[in-house]
Symmetry: D2
Subunit: 312 residues, 4 copies
């Protein structure tokens, strides 16, 4: 599948990133860091039986990346059709008068609180593990790295409250979260980062969700390239922010848009979750938790709408 040598691909720059450290056929990326032992470590964090839901509600009015939309229509036709059947009861199908309603949704998975597949971003024509897009593209999705290939996530979650450690104010668009920021937030919480962790950053930007969607979508603060590398070196499994992408926008270096999530995904296989709803959990002073993210497995899709759960 990795059909072309390095020299033929100028987009690679000075180094290639394949085969991945998890093997040339790997599709799970840094989620490989989540072992049974890691699951047990995370389970032991639960003391209260409290569940925080880190997802926003999904509807047609949420902030969206240009060109992306979510539309849902309800159909109630079977209320009429059932009443016309030969075995209709007084008000529906059967003597039990059963009826049902169904919605139709048209949307991309790249909306709302979602987890990106490792196929979503590329560097030039190549994805994580060096697959060429031309080799993996199908009509319905990709035949490698689809969201259906990503393992379900049960691991230790950390919330680094950068907004709090910077003084309690919402960060601004283009603000770069540094390694020092991460270390300060960890020190304040008395925590460290370990392989297989999920590390989420609270920037306060998520307060705008539903309140000023245009502003929310116009820019974002986020981890800079140095912090991205720092996360990868610590072998975190996944990461995410209360913003629509990951990393500052406008970008840290003008000519490198979306370079942080691109590097995490493509080079390191670190999974990114976007549009996290972190206000509630940040206000509650939560820093360490059992994180569960399960996702519907749309074959070949580039992501999945999720509701990450922080369980304490």
């Amino acid at each position: 599948m990795v059909t072309n040598a390095q020299a033929a691909h100028p987009e690679n720059g000075t180094s290639t990133w394949w085969p991945s450290k998890y093997g040339p056929d790997d599709q799970a990326g840094a989620l490989n860091e989540i072992t049974p032992g890691k699951v047990l470590e995370a389970i032991r964090l639960v003391r209260q039986g409290r569940v925080y839901d880190l997802a926003h509600v999904l509807d047609q009015d949420i902030p969206a990346f240009p060109g992306r939309t979510f539309r849902q229509y309800l159909t109630t036709n079977y209320h009429q059709i059932n009443r016309r059947q030969p075995d209709a009861g007084p008000a529906g199908l059967g003597t039990n008068s059963v009826n049902w309603i169904v919605e139709q949704v048209t949307a991309t998975q790249q909306m709302g609180t979602h987890m990106d597949g490792l196929n979503h971003l590329q560097m030039g024509d190549r994805t994580y593990n060096g697959f060429l897009l031309a080799d993996i593209i199908e009509d319905h999705g990709t035949n490698r790295l689809g969201i259906d290939t990503l393992p379900q996530v049960v691991t230790r979650g950390l919330l680094l409250d950068v907004a709090a450690s910077r003084g309690g104010e919402r960060l601004k668009p283009g603000d770069v979260i540094t390694v020092a920021d991460a270390e300060a937030a960890l020190a304040a919480a008395g925590l460290d980062v370990r392989p297989g962790d999920a590390v989420f950053f609270h920037t306060g930007w998520g307060e705008l969700w539903g309140n000023d969607n245009d502003r929310y979508a116009s820019g974002e603060p986020g981890p800079g390239t140095a912090l991205g590398e720092w996360l990868a070196e610590r072998r975190v499994a996944l990461t995410g922010c209360d913003t629509w992408s990951f990393g500052p926008f406008p970008p840290e270096t003008h000519c490198e848009p979306f370079v942080v999530p691109q590097t995490l995904n493509v080079r390191h296989g670190v999974v990114v979750v976007e549009n996290l709803r972190l206000e509630e959990v940040a206000r509650a002073g939560v820093h360490e938790f059992l994180l569960v993210i399960s996702h519907a497995k749309l074959r070949g899709a580039t992501g999945a709408w999720v509701a990450p759960l922080a369980i304490l």
Copy 2:
């Protein structure tokens, strides 16, 4: 909201079911049975750090209820568009040549492994807690009982392997799972049913998924009405089978189609999960586990594609 008196609604039969025991405004149904104490009880079941994924992959070829479809198309347009931008790099946007791909999905949530909202089924014109459909219908979904109103699920899960306790053969379409079946499966596993539990039934019918989809969709075994009532009396939070609906089809009583899920949903607020992938977990001899089901919160939708996790 409950605008009409009982006498005006012949569909009610001899008894009404509202207000619900969880209050006249309740939208969570039997998920109210899942307390922090229940979460902790479930967490304590984890010993191995092993995660079983109980969801099937979702694509256009899966078994579907008549008239329901799932279609997904990949778009890779930004590979070309990014290369044409003023700040394009050698093979994409920026000097980092970033590109992305996105899918478009058109489907109902009532496909594949999914959890029904308490708005999906009605008795005549009324849902759980007696809401009239005419009062809650909106263009995009319902303004009460949408899947966005259902709490996320972290609870004790039980797998009753009826196929095994009946001798290891796959049950047949229309086969009725009885209270005695449930009790026998529980006794064999040395388990009991408690409030807030999720009770799943392995019938073996799920072996047909992906192997003979037409047959899978043509009928199903399932819990009968007596077992449905038994589950509700024990205050289970949710239930589900390795079948496309819940309850036998053809139905136990010819003139009462879908009466088991209808009664569970509408009268008792017990949530139903459909098309569970239970073969793997049944083969592994798993009977009791931490169950986590998190779902994307599509406002007003009638269900959500989910990947229930059985964690041991």
Copy 3:
């Protein structure tokens, strides 16, 4: 199919409108007025061989009735897939390197320049010819009066330039076009209205299309109820304006929204075309022409995107 007597339907007011004058099973409405003789009459109007296109371009940014949207996505996947086939040529499928691209559209037909089916509007629960919605509704559309049942249109078209005859200014939202207006415009053009004609009204409101879409959609001028009745009495086959509906909005009588198109459709079976692009043809001083409107026949749909042609 007409299953209930008049007395049972209070929505009927003082008179019922079925069976229609074209018969109890008729689905063509006033398009029945277009006979072969009428076609020939219309054909004879062509002198120059000039074709005016009365449709706007359809895209995601056009004015829309609340809740209605049009989305289109291009997929180019076969450019990659074809190159990977066993019989691929140098740059596509075969030695001829053939490739293709396809779009996916999600939308209602009730967008842009479109013709309403006689099933689109109801008075209470009843459509044209007294069909009950509950009897004709199916999951995909209606089993009577779908746009597929409407004949294709080849007839004499008239453009009544009310904006011009009122002094050349664009009419305002809520402005009522009267019978006197119609008669003045006809007299100015030396024309009369005959059975089977299509009568279009130029109000100037269409200038806002693409220039100020919010204002365009916020209201409209249009024929009042008296003019609606006058058109029906003259047995016109269809009618339309350069506005998003037909008839003034705010409505002539506050408590009667959309009563003009409702009466034309439901009571008289007169077909309505919306969002006509009339600026060009009005500026050219065209008043009488061969009108051709052909429409794709989506089974059971409530309308069809069309491009009406005025041929001179």
Copy 4:
């Protein structure tokens, strides 16, 4: 826009086809052959006032090219919503109790009776007039050659009944219609082909539509490459068959799939209409007629569902 020289594009073979004879920016192709004089010539063919509709009904069950689908859902929600408004009447909005219904369609325009845009097919990466796909692709469609750029069609139509001239039997899959076939059919009808004409071929294959859709879609007879060139030399504006594509399938030369429509579209700009409903008009012995094809103008789309009208 034509950014690369011939030598850089090995897909071109021995000759390039751009700039087109209609100019380097032309997007109308052979529809340029339809002049006002041509319109008048066509109009004069009408003697009876009879209109034949050459389109099939469009629904979810029609024959489809692999991967293409058409889905339509009706929504009747406003029947409930309107009755709940402050200004609701007895059975809908206002004292006139108005209600409406709307469908939602998800589909490609490449379904059913449709006209291909000149952007639908490519030779390698190039379209008609040599545009590079990479230069014209946008998220919603193409910025050149979209179906919105094709003129509306009013011209002389010819029906060559090859099934009849070959003895009355339906042609078989892979059967090649030759120049001799065309000349024989023309001679039998006493007709000739002139610039700007639309030439349709009746093969009898269309009898299978709706009767044996699988067989219909499994192959087709059609004009061979020599006849394709013959049509282009005669400067026909458009052409089409009662088949799902144009040209024999399996193809005349095994390694050249879809080379006939590819050559007509890409090299000559001749427009192709597919899935024509020709049985009725062939049985009626019609050979020459006024043809009108008007199409909705979806910006950048690759085709349009149409209902071509043969008017006599």
